[in-house]
Symmetry: C2
Subunit: 341 residues, 2 copies
Amino acid sequence: MQGRPTINDVAQAAGVSKSAVSYALSGRGRIGAETRERVLAVAAELGWQPSQQARGLSSSRTYAIGLVFARPAELIGADPFFAPFIAGVEAELSHHKYALLSQVIVGGEAEEEEGYRRLASGGRVDGMILTDLRDIDPRISLLRDLGMPYVAVGRPMQAIDGPAVSNDDSASVTSAVDHLADLGHQRIAQVSGSRALVHGLERERAFHRALAARGLYAGTVIPGDFTGQSGAEGMCALLELSHRPTAIIFANALMAIAGMQEAARQGVSVPADISVVALDDNPIAPFVTPALTAVHTDVLLWGSLSARTIMAWIEGASDTADVTLPSELVVRGSTAPPPSP
Amino acid sequence: MQGRPTINDVAQAAGVSKSAVSYALSGRGRIGAETRERVLAVAAELGWQPSQQARGLSSSRTYAIGLVFARPAELIGADPFFAPFIAGVEAELSHHKYALLSQVIVGGEAEEEEGYRRLASGGRVDGMILTDLRDIDPRISLLRDLGMPYVAVGRPMQAIDGPAVSNDDSASVTSAVDHLADLGHQRIAQVSGSRALVHGLERERAFHRALAARGLYAGTVIPGDFTGQSGAEGMCALLELSHRPTAIIFANALMAIAGMQEAARQGVSVPADISVVALDDNPIAPFVTPALTAVHTDVLLWGSLSARTIMAWIEGASDTADVTLPSELVVRGSTAPPPSP
DNA sequence: CTTCCGTGCTGAACCGGTTGTGCATCGTGA
DNA sequence: TCACGATGCACAACCGGTTCAGCACGGAAG
C-alpha cells in the first residue's frame, strides 16, 4: 500500500473481489446495492482513483485528446487564440474525464508533422484537434491513415471526411466591410495574413464578395504574415498608393496596431484620415489609442465546441456535423467616416 | 493486426519471443547482434511504436508532465507568458520522449486545485510544473503528500523542499528603477499585479530596495490585478496625486498600455510628461505609440529550463538546484527624462 | 572428458484495470 | 416439492508492454 492505492487495495479492504470493485464503480455489472455502497465508501476513504493508464490498456482508449499548435517564434506570444482556445477545450474535456495532451511547436511544418506523429503513434491520444489548416493539408491523410479521429478548427477547402468547427470568416469580413461602407468608405483595402492557411484564402474571397455586394470597386490586398512588422509594411505600402484607401482591414490586431503606429509616424491620423479594422480581436485592442475596432469571436466557446465534437466522434456518435461560430464586430475608436475630399 | 501493431506482431514477424523484442529495443538484456538488428528492422517495417500506456503500466511511469495554468478569463488571452512557456517546455520534453499534459483553467483557486488533483490522482503524470505561486501555496503540500515531483516556476517565499526556476524579479525591478533614475526621475511609482502571487510581493520589496539604493524617496504603490482596467485605474489614481510621479512602473504590458491610454485621455503626454515602464514584455509593446519600454525575459528558455529540471528530478538526479533567469530592459519610446519643472 | 561459466534466448509473472463466464444462492411458479 | 430463472459475486483471461528466472548450448579450463 505504498504509493497510490490500487483496485486490489480497495477490494481487499472491502472484502470483495477486484471485479466487484470495478463493477461497483462503473455500474455495469450486477452488484447488490449495499455492496456497492460499501465499496464506494472504502474507495473514497482510501482516496482511490482508477489509473487511467491501466484503464486505457484494457479499453484501448487513452481518454486523452491531442492538440498540436505550430507558430513561428515571433507570433507565439502575441497570438490571443492559443490560451483561450485551450482553456475552452479543457473546460469541456475535463467534464468528461478526458485530458489534453498539447504540443506547442515553434517552427515550421516539418516539426509540426513530427509532433502529430509522435502523439499519434505513441498511442497517447484517442483523437486530435487540428488548427491552422492549410489549403491541402497532409495531416488529414496522415490521421486518416492512422485511423485517428480528428476535428478541423476552421473549415478546410478540401473535402476532409471529418467534422470542422469554424468561425465564419466570410461573415467576419462582411461585417467589417459593411461597417466601413455604412460609414461612407469607398476605397477599402486589406492586409491579409498568410495565404497558405485556409482562412486567409477564404477571407480574401469574402472580401471581394462583400465589396461587390456593396457596389464598391475591388480593393487592394496586401499580403502579410500576421506579424507586427508585416502590418506596418502593409500600411506603408497602402499609404504610398496614388489612390490611397480610406479604410484598411487587417488580418489580426497585432498587424492593425502596428499599422496604426506606422500611420502615426507618417502623420496620418486614425481614424480621421484612415479607418482601421482588425479581423481578430485582442485583449489589448480596447486600450491602444485609438481603441481598435475589431471582429470578436468567442474563442473559449470555439474550444469547447471543438472538444465536444471530437469526443462525440470518439464515442461513436454519428452527429459529427460541422459547427459554425458567430462573430461580432466590436466598434471602438479606430473607425470613422472617411475624410471629406 | 488491425489497428496499431503490438509487440507480439513484431515478435511473430521476427520469429522471436516478445521479451526478445523488448530487450532488443531497450538494449537492456543480452541479445545477439544480428537478432537485434533483425528485430529492429522488422519493427521499423511494421511501423511499431511501443504503447506508452502499456509501458507506463509496468514501469509505473507515464512519461508525461502536468502543467496547470489558471488565469481569470479577461487575462487568459492577453498573457504573453503561457504560449511561449509551453513551447519551451515542449521543446525540451519531446527530446526525451515526454509528453505535456496541460490544463488551462479559467477561474479561481478552487478549480485550479481540482485540476491538480485530477492530473495527479488519475496517475496521468510523473511530475508537475507549478506556475503562479502564491505566498503560502496549498499545492506544494498537496503534491508532496502525493509523492509527486514538482518544480516551482518563480521562487516561492516558503521553503518548498523542491527546485524552483525563476526569473530574477528583483533584478527586473532594479533595472527599471535604475533606468528611470538615470534619466533623472525622482518620483517613481508602481502599479503592481496581484499581491497574492509571490512575484508580486517580491517585486514590491525590490522596488523599495532599488529606490533606497538610488537615494530616492519611497514611491507610491497602487495595487492592480494585471488587467487593462486596473492599469488605467492605477494611472488615474497616480495622476490625481498632488505630488504627481514622473515615472510609473507597471506590472505588465497590458496594464502599462491601458495606463498610457488613460494618460492620453487626460491630456498627459507619454513620455514628455510621464515615463512608463512595464515589467513584462509583450510582442505588441514595440508597436503601440509610444513604443513601450519593458523588461524582457526569455520565456521560451524559462520553459525549457523548467522542463529540464522536472525531468531531472523524475529521473532521480540529485542536482535539482534552483535556476535563475536573466532579464533585460528593452528601452523603447515610453521613457524619457522628466519634464523640467 | 567432465565441469563450469558466459551467452542468447524463452516462458511466465506482473503492472492495474475491464469484462466474459460460471457457480452458488434465493425466490418463484407449477 | 422440485425445476428454473434471476441475482450477486468470484475467477480468470486479457490489454501491451517490462523484467526476472531459468534453460540450452557452446567454448574454455581443469
